[in-house]
């Protein structure tokens, strides 16, 4: 039997799921061709919000990568929009002329965001929120800063607002209705939500009607009907979606609000199916994935000829995916004469819950704050069970029902029935997960996701799935610990993102909110957290000395015998007779055992006693010498050659530029040490091609290279590009340092960071996009005002005096009972 041809229009979440079911049931039935207007593979659209907020990357949310299509022999036309369906000839045609003949066709064009046609809606800077391009657009805008106005206070609008806020923008939400998310929340919960968003610095204006968007060549602001003008550099419209039905209508299919189908998801043409947001089944259209996945399953069954299943409507709970905000709503919660409400409020904890009953059955629930019981109410709603017996305690939740069940989440999950739904998006119940674990011997969350899809979509049920695993596997299940240290399972990237996303500004706040497993961290995580906070909240966060490694605490390098080495800065490797004389005097005065020239073109004084450090620094300071930060995760040296000043090959003043760079960059803390070099011509005497950032002077300007290493690991640099002036070199070097400061993991050198995020990404952000470069540069300059103080002179003048003096000293022989006691500082 030869294969039939299946053509799919649209490659969103619904057809992606349809194909999974189809290939499982009938792997050889069809030759599949997909047309997708978006130029990419299938990804989890609902996780765009975590990508926007920075909690996930695009790679994290891809559902089917290239391999997936290749393995199944599927032809995927990316970026090819279908423009016509010829039902008589059974052929579809794409915008660039590609055609494909079909035996069966699936229309899965999803929906398009509705754009309010107010004046100015076409200006650059007005975006919808639907796909990755929109997210990229928002991120570009966020990187330039300013204010974003989000029009629409529903699920999408609020997720966009929270994401843009955590990316550092000022955010105003405009909502036409009197309370937020009025379709999912009642006014009380809407109020709590608004308060929470406002406490995070998001401005919310309800009852706000947009009159026009202002600006000549790009967005400059928004004007409301009442005359209010709000400045804005970005406008996001999230006011609703319209099923994309034009193609089907033009092809003469029956179309109402969506493409009309029967309960088998078949349209008015028996060879054409429709699934997803574009489909209208039994008079309803949908905008959440759970029903779409059901459509996909039904349609796949019919296409594979293995099932006669019919689509059945079910209530889908709504959750908002904003970290730290918990809300859950399901069913119907309008007021009505035959309806009763049970309400429980806990103002102190900012939590609210309301269950709506009709004839002793649950028909709706709204939970805000503590939402753990949402699932249980949903179960009661679905089963239509008579709840008169438990009416009195219903509102307190499942833990209060019969037998005083423990509030322990594991016990709560243990008490769920086998058909309790765990994963709402995918409609996966507890029994199914348990069965998959037992039958297939699954042991990790990733495997459970792969086999059952539980928690593989919006991810809010991950904790529940893990509880089910813990119950089923017992002690053999332990969450995979890949954390930054034993104190947390979160990795460096997650911790960095959450610090920004949740606005965590102290080490105790991070440990509390991210649920550290130790009370005060350890020597691995504390220095990392201290760095992240210092880099993320310049001027706000106070450096925690006790979380620093000793070298950075006493501004010298500890040696194996507990003495220290002292390295003064020599800008660009230049020194003078005065400086050398001062160094010689210090060496004699403090009997410093060794003096050595370092690889970074400066002088190291080795074997200084800790108690002598402040006095040594005082003498060096007096001669104008400052700390060289030879101990720091920060700028170490800028190595130079003599360049055009002396060398016959020199093309530019490499020494002068090196000094300028060093004076600009010193003092800033970075994830790991940073070394630079400026070399006067490609002969490279200053060895710029193995530095973190190197500059090679050429006749026409300055070639910038980066990502070199010459330690345990040896690696040549990668070229970033060529610029014309010294000012540009400084701007690029500062911007790159800042990007690395914001993204690098603690102890990760520039070459590792660049490998991880991609050399192309760095180049695009630092060289190609001058707006983005400027923004990084400005953030660097801002943070430098808090960083450029000489730590030596600070300590000479008394800072951290306790570091350098013993607490008490007793003689060899019978010390007097009252010893010499240092006064309190």
């Amino acid at each position: 039997m030869s294969k039939q041809r299946l053509v799919i229009i649209g490659n969103g979440m619904a057809p992606g799921r349809l194909l999974e079911h189809l290939f499982e049931a009938a792997p050889d039935a069809y030759d599949v061709t997909i047309f997708n207007a978006e130029p990419r593979v299938n990804y989890d659209r609902i996780m765009l919000s975590p990508v926007l907020s920075g909690e996930k990357t695009f790679e994290d949310i891809i559902i089917h990568g290239d391999d997936w299509y290749a393995e199944r022999g599927i032809t995927l036309h990316r970026g090819e929009k279908v423009t016509g369906i010829d039902r008589a000839a059974r052929v579809v045609t794409g915008a660039s002329g590609i055609t494909a003949a079909y035996d069966k066709l699936v229309i899965a064009t999803g929906s398009s965001p509705f754009i309010i046609p107010v004046p100015g809606h076409k200006l650059p800077g007005v975006l919808a929120y639907r796909d990755l391009d929109d997210v990229d657009g928002m991120l570009r805008a966020a990187n330039r800063g300013g204010r974003a106005v989000v029009i629409g206070g529903g699920l999408l609008g609020l997720e966009a607002a929270a994401g843009l806020k955590s990316r550092g923008m000022e955010v105003t939400v405009l909502h036409l209705m009197p309370t937020l998310m009025e379709r999912q929340l009642d006014p009380a919960a809407g109020y709590l939500l608004q308060k929470e968003l406002e406490s995070r610095g998001i401005e919310v204006r309800c009852g706000a009607n947009t009159k026009m968007i202002l600006g000549d060549s790009e967005v400059e602001g928004v004007e409301l009907e009442d005359g209010t003008v709000i400045d804005a550099s970005l406008v996001v419209m999230a006011v609703g979606i319209r099923p994309s039905v034009d193609l089907a209508r033009d092809a003469g299919l029956d179309v109402g609000r969506g493409i009309q189908t029967d309960l088998a998801m078949c349209t008015s043409d028996p060879d054409i199916f429709s699934v997803g947001e574009c489909a209208e089944v039994d008079g309803r259209v949908y905008g959440l994935v759970a029903p779409l996945y059901q459509m996909a399953k039904v349609a796949a069954g019919h296409l594979a000829g293995v099932s006669e299943a019919a689509f059945a409507h079910a209530e889908t709970p709504t959750k908002l995916k904003v970290t730290g905000i918990n809300l859950y709503s399901v069913g119907d919660f309008g007021d009505g004469p035959d309806r009763e409400d049970v309400v429980l409020r806990d103002a102190a904890r900012g939590s609210y819950r309301r269950v709506i009953l009709q004839g002793n059955r649950v028909i709706g629930a709204v939970l805000y704050g503590d939402v753990a019981d949402g699932m249980w109410y949903n179960e009661l709603l679905k089963s239509g069970e008579d709840v008169s017996d438990i009416r009195d305690t219903l509102i307190f939740g499942q833990a209060h029902q019969g037998g005083g069940m423990a509030a322990d989440p594991l016990a709560a999950v243990a008490n769920l029935s086998d058909d309790a739904e765990i994963c709402g998006c995918n409609g996966i119940c507890k029994g199914k997960i348990v069965q998959a674990i037992n039958d297939k011997g699954l042991t990790s969350l990733a495997e459970v996701r792969a086999h059952t899809k539980a928690s593989a979509s919006c991810g809010t049920c991950t904790g529940l799935v893990e509880s089910v695993m813990a119950l089923t596997l017992g002690d053999t299940f332990s969450k995979k610990a890949e954390g930054m240290c034993g104190c947390t399972d979160l990795g460096h990237g997650e911790v960095r993102r959450l610090i920004k996303a949740q606005g965590l500004k102290s080490i105790p706040a991070v440990m509390q909110e991210l649920e550290w497993k130790s009370s005060h961290g350890c020597a691995k995580c504390r220095p990392a957290l201290n760095y992240y906070l210092l880099s993320d909240w310049p001027g706000e966060y106070k450096d925690d000395q006790q979380s620093r490694f000793i070298n950075e605490r006493v501004h010298a390098n500890i040696q194996k015998d507990g003495t220290y080495s002292v390295v003064p800065r020599m800008w660009g490797g230049m020194t003078s007779s005065d400086e050398l004389r001062a160094i010689a005097d210090v060496v004699d005065k403090f009997a410093i055992p060794d003096v050595k020239v370092t690889g970074g073109q400066r002088i190291d004084l080795l074997g200084v006693k800790k108690e002598d450090l402040p006095a040594v620094w005082a003498d060096l300071n007096a001669a104008g010498l400052v700390s060289g930060h030879a101990y720091a995760k920060g700028l170490r040296t800028v190595k130079t050659c003599v360049g055009s000043t002396w060398c016959r090959f020199g093309t530019q003043d490499s020494t002068g530029l090196g000094i300028k760079l060093e004076k600009f960059l010193w003092g800033s803390w970075t994830p790991a040490k940073v070394k630079l070099a400026v070399t006067g011509c490609p002969r490279n005497c200053a060895e710029a091609t193995c530095k973190d950032i190197g500059v090679i002077c050429v006749d026409s300007g300055y070639e910038i290279v980066y990502g070199g290493a010459a330690g345990l690991h040896i690696q040549g640099t990668t070229k970033l590009g060529t610029v014309k002036t010294e000012e540009e070199v400084i701007e690029v070097a500062a911007a790159m340092t800042q990007m690395y400061r914001e993204q690098g993991f603690y102890l990760e050198r520039i070459y590792k960071w660049a490998e991880r995020v991609g050399y192309d990404t760095v180049k695009a952000a630092i060289l190609d996009d001058t707006g983005s470069r400027r923004a990084y540069y400005e953030r660097f300059v801002f943070s430098q005002q808090f960083a450029q103080t000489d730590p030596w002179s600070e300590r000479v003048s008394g800072v951290d005096k306790h570091e350098f003096k013993p607490l008490a000293v007793f003689g060899e022989e019978a010390a007097p009972a009252t010893a010499k006691v240092e006064p309190a500082e």
Binding site: S518, S519, H520, G521, C522, A523, R526, P527, Q545, Q546, S547, R548, F549, I550, N551, R553, V554, I558, K560, G562, H802, P806, L807, A808, V809, F810, G811, E812, A814, A815, A817, T818, A819, V821, E822, A824, E825
Partner: protein, 117 residues
Amino acid sequence: MNALTRDTNAWRLIGSIDDIPSQGARCVENGETKIAVFRTADDRIFALEDKCPHKNGPLSQGIVHGGCVTCPLHNWVISLETGAATGADDGRTASFPVRLDGRDIYLNLESNLQQGA
């Protein structure tokens, strides 16, 4: 109790708890011996000889976390209470009895190890 069986003359007032940064340490010199006095985040005070059991690293310079200090030289983690290395490492540093009287710290200059404790 230790204090009773010891030479009571060995107790010395060494300063106030406020002289030591929280999660930090200061040193007391007793002739040739250096004693590191630690203060934890919950204001407990411990005293150990300032010598790592590994290669004599100065423990007073390490990072204090929970009831432990991580040696600055090669990251051994030493229990402040017992002076013993934790985890896979093996070794023990001499510890000294301390007691708090109000905010005053008293240190007994006779180590627990010498006592065979």
